[in-house]
C-alpha cells in the first residue's frame, strides 16, 4: 500500500477538509471590511450550491440543470419570512407589494410565514418535498441522463414563469426585498457583519461534513454504482428510483438551505434566481472544480465567482468568452475537473521510481476515484 495515491487516502482527505474549514473560519479575523465579508459569505453559498450539484451529478450521475428550483423557492420562503418580520399583524398586516396588487388579506399559503421558525422550516421543507415528488415521478419512469437534464431545465422554466405570473403573491419580476435584516431571537443579523458570515460558514462546514460522510457510507457507494450501471444495481436488489430520489432530494435540501442563507445576506429574491443561466452556472462551478470531489466543487465555485468579480472587470466583455472556453477545455481534457488534475499529479508522484512501482497493477495507482473522492 505504500504506493497508493495520496489523493485517495481518507486521512489525507479529511486533513485537507479540516484545513479548509479552519481557513474559512478564520477569515473574519483578517477581514474587517463589511463588503468583503459579505462577499465571502456569498461565495460560501455558491460553494454549497456547487457541492449540492457534485452530490447528485458527480456522485449520483443525475445531471440537474434545475437546481435553481430549490434555491429559488427557498429564497422566496426566506424573503417572505423576513418581510413578515417587518410587518405587524394588527396595524400593517400585509406586505406593501400585495397591497399594491389589490390583495386585502394575506393569502393562506403565506400565513405560516408570520412565524420566523415556521417560515424557515417551510422554506426548507417545501422545495425538498417538491424534489421528492418530481424525482419520484421522473426516476420511477426511468427518465435519466440528458432527458432528465432537459426536464429539470423545463421545470425550472415553468417555476420561473409561474412566479412571474403570480404577481399578487410574489411581486412578479420585481421580486421581494425585505426592508430590514433577518432578526433571530431579537437580534438583527447584520448581513455585513461577522455573525452572518459565521452562520454561512457553519452551514457550509456542516453540509460538507454531512455530504462527505454520506458519500463514504454504503448509501454513497450504491449511488456511485448506479451512476455507472443502474440496471446492475437494480438486479442486486436495490430500489434504484428510491436511491436516486433520495440523493436528488438531499441535494435539493442543501440548495434550499443555500437559498435561505443567501436571502439573509442579500435581502432580496426575484425570478432571476430561477434563471437557467444561474442553474447551469452551478454545474459549471462543479464541473470545473471537479464533480467527483466535494471540496473541488466548492473551490470551483470560489474560483469562478471570484474570477467573475475580480477578473471580470478587467476583461469586461471577454469574461464570458474566457469562461466558456475554459469550461470547454475542462470538459474536453479534464472530465474530473481541477480536482481530477490533482489526482493525476499525485498519482504520477506515487509512481516515482524507487518506491516499488507495482507495474503489474497500474490500476491500483491510477486509482479508484469512487471511494468518496
Amino acid at each position: 500500500m505504500t504506493t497508493r495515491n495520496l489523493y485517495h487516502s481518507k486521512p489525507a482527505q479529511w486533513a485537507v477538509y479540516g484545513l479548509f474549514f479552519v481557513i474559512i473560519a478564520l477569515i473574519p479575523a483578517f477581514v474587517s471590511d463589511g463588503f468583503l465579508l459579505n462577499q465571502f459569505a456569498v461565495y460560501g453559498i455558491y460553494g454549497m450550491l456547487a457541492l449540492s450539484i457534485s452530490l447528485c451529478w458527480g456522485f449520483g450521475g443525475i445531471l440537474n440543470l434545475g437546481q435553481g428550483i430549490a434555491f429559488g423557492l427557498a429564497a422566496y420562503g426566506m424573503a417572505m419570512t423576513m418581510q413578515m418580520q417587518s410587518q405587524d399583524p394588527d396595524s400593517n398586516p400585509i406586505p406593501p407589494f400585495m397591497l399594491n396588487n389589490s390583495l386585502e388579506h394575506l393569502p393562506w399559503f403565506w400565513q405560516p410565514f408570520w412565524s420566523t421558525g415556521g417560515g424557515i422550516l417551510l422554506a426548507l421543507v417545501v422545495p425538498t418535498l417538491f424534489y421528492v415528488v418530481f424525482g419520484t415521478l421522473m426516476f420511477r419512469a426511468r427518465v435519466s441522463g440528458p432527458f432528465f437534464a432537459i426536464m429539470s431545465l423545463a421545470m425550472l422554466s415553468a417555476f420561473a414563469t409561474l412566479i412571474l405570473d403570480m404577481q399578487p403573491y410574489t411581486n412578479g419580476a420585481n421580486g421581494i426585498s425585505p426592508p430590514s435584516p433577518l432578526s433571530i431571537f431579537g437580534t438583527d443579523i447584520d448581513p455585513y457583519g461577522p455573525t452572518a458570515y459565521w452562520i454561512v460558514c457553519g452551514g457550509l462546514i456542516a453540509v460538507t461534513v454531512g455530504a462527505k460522510l454520506l458519500t463514504q457510507s454504503k448509501f454513497g457507494l450504491v449511488i456511485q454504482a448506479l451512476r455507472g450501471d443502474p440496471e446492475r444495481v437494480r438486479f442486486l436488489g436495490y430500489n434504484v428510483a428510491l436511491y436516486e430520489t433520495c440523493i436528488y432530494a438531499i441535494s435539493g435540501f442543501i440548495a434550499a438551505l443555500a437559498g435561505c442563507l443567501w436571502v439573509m445576506l442579500i435581502q432580496y429574491v426575484s425570478p432571476a434566481q430561477l434563471d437557467t443561466t444561474f442553474s447551469i452556472g452551478m454545474v459549471i462551478w462543479a464541473g470545473i472544480g471537479g464533480r467527483l470531489s466535494l471540496l473541488g466543487a466548492i473551490l470551483g465555485a470560489f474560483l469562478i465567482q471570484g474570477g467573475q468579480s475580480y477578473l471580470g472587470d478587467q476583461f469586461l466583455a471577454t469574461w464570458l468568452l474566457v469562461l466558456g472556453a475554459f469550461f470547454i477545455v475542462v470538459v474536453r481534457f479534464l472530465p474530473k475537473g481541477l480536482a481530477g488534475l490533482l489526482e493525476k499529479v499525485l498519482g504520477a508522484l506515487a509512481r516515482q521510481p524507487g518506491k516499488h512501482a507495482r507495474s503489474d497493477l497500474p490500476h491500483a495507482i491510477s486509482g479508484a476515484p469512487a471511494a468518496g473522492e
Binding site: 427518465v143 432537459i150 405570473d165 459549471i284 464570458l320 470538459v331
Partner: protein, 294 residues
C-alpha cells in the same frame, strides 16, 4: 370570451399551426443531431442566433436579398457546426452528459463572440414588402410571413425526410444508428456520417435563425428564447423526425389554445407541466429512437 362564436377559436387553431411550425423549424436541426448523433446540443440556440446574424450581415454589407440569405445562413452555420464537431464534439461521443456541458460552453463563447463583433444592440433584417401583409382564409387571418415560415418548414421537413429515408446517405445514417460496428464492416464511415449530420443540423438552425430574425429581433441572446421549446419538442417527440413533427404540432396547438383561454404566461406553465406528466408515462417520447439492448 364567453360567446359561442367559433371563429376566434378556429383562428387560435390556425395560429397554433403557425406556432407549431416555428417551434418545429427551431427543433428540426436539434432533432436530427440528437436522433443520429445522440448529442444534446445546448449551443443550438446560438446556432439559430448565428443564422440570424449571418443574414443580417450579408444583407447590410452586401445587400443580399432576403431569400438568398436563407441558403447562405445554412451554409455559414453548417460550416461553424462542422468546425465545432471536428474540433470538440467528436471527442465526446461516448460521454453524452459531457457533450451537453461542452456545448453549453460553446454557446457562451458564440454568444459573447457575436456580442463583441456586433454589439449588444438589436439588429433588424429587412424582408420584401410582399411579406408584410396578411391574408384572410375564410374566418382565419394569418400574416404572409407566417405562411412563408410554414411553407419553408414543410419544405425542410420534406427535404430532411427525403435525405434520411430515400438516399444512400440516409441509409448510411440509419445503419450507423442501428449498429456502428456492423456499419463500419460494410465500409460506412460513421465518423463522416456524424460530421455531416451535425453540420446539416447546425445549418438548419441557421435557416430558422434567419426567419426568426424577421419575426422578432436579432440579438446575441435571441437563441435562448427558442431553445427550451426546441428541446421540449425533441424530448416529447423522442428524437425522430416524425416524433418532432407530431410533438411540435401538439405543443404548438396546445400553447395557442391555452393562450386563447388563459394568457400567454400561464399557457406556457401549463404546457411545461403537461409535458412532465406526459414523460412520466412515455419517458422515451412519442416515437423513440431504437436503442440497442444489453
Amino acid at each position: 370570451m364567453t360567446s359561442l362564436d367559433i371563429a376566434p377559436f378556429a383562428n387560435a387553431l390556425v395560429l397554433g399551426l403557425s406556432i407549431a411550425s416555428i417551434w418545429l423549424i427551431a427543433a428540426i436541426g436539434l432533432t436530427i443531431i440528437y436522433g443520429t448523433v445522440g448529442v444534446i446540443n445546448m449551443a443550438h440556440g446560438e446556432f439559430i442566433m448565428l443564422g440570424a446574424y449571418t443574414s443580417y450581415a450579408l444583407q447590410s454589407s452586401l445587400g443580399l436579398p432576403f431569400l438568398l440569405c436563407l441558403p447562405a445562413s445554412f451554409a455559414v452555420v453548417a460550416l461553424v457546426g462542422l468546425v465545432i464537431e471536428r474540433g470538440l464534439i467528436r471527442y465526446l461521443y461516448n460521454r453524452p452528459l459531457d457533450t451537453l456541458l461542452a456545448t453549453w460552453g460553446v454557446s457562451l463563447v458564440l454568444m459573447q463572440g457575436v456580442r463583441l463583433i456586433f454589439g449588444s444592440d438589436p439588429k433588424y433584417i429587412a424582408v420584401p414588402e410582399i411579406f408584410q401583409s396578411n391574408v384572410e382564409i375564410g374566418f382565419a387571418s394569418l400574416s404572409v410571413f407566417r405562411l412563408v415560415v410554414l411553407a419553408i418548414t414543410a419544405l425542410i421537413v420534406a427535404a430532411t425526410a427525403w435525405l434520411f429515408y430515400r438516399t444512400r446517405f440516409g441509409m448510411q445514417v440509419r445503419a450507423v444508428m442501428q449498429n456502428k460496428e456492423m456499419a463500419a464492416s460494410f465500409g460506412i464511415n460513421a465518423d463522416r456520417v456524424y460530421m455531416t449530420t451535425f453540420a446539416i443540423g447546425a445549418g438548419l438552425a441557421g435557416v430558422a435563425g434567419s426567419l426568426f430574425g424577421v419575426l422578432a429581433i436579432v440579438l446575441p441572446t435571441m437563441g435562448t428564447a427558442y431553445v427550451v421549446q426546441a428541446f421540449l419538442v425533441v424530448v416529447v417527440g423522442g428524437g425522430t423526425l416524425m416524433g418532432s413533427v407530431t410533438a411540435a404540432g401538439l405543443t404548438g396547438e396546445l400553447q395557442s389554445v391555452f393562450a386563447f383561454v388563459t394568457n400567454d404566461t400561464f399557457a406556457r406553465f401549463l404546457l411545461y407541466v403537461l409535458i412532465v406528466v406526459f414523460l412520466r408515462f412515455r419517458p422515451r417520447g412519442l416515437f423513440a429512437v431504437a436503442k440497442g439492448r444489453r
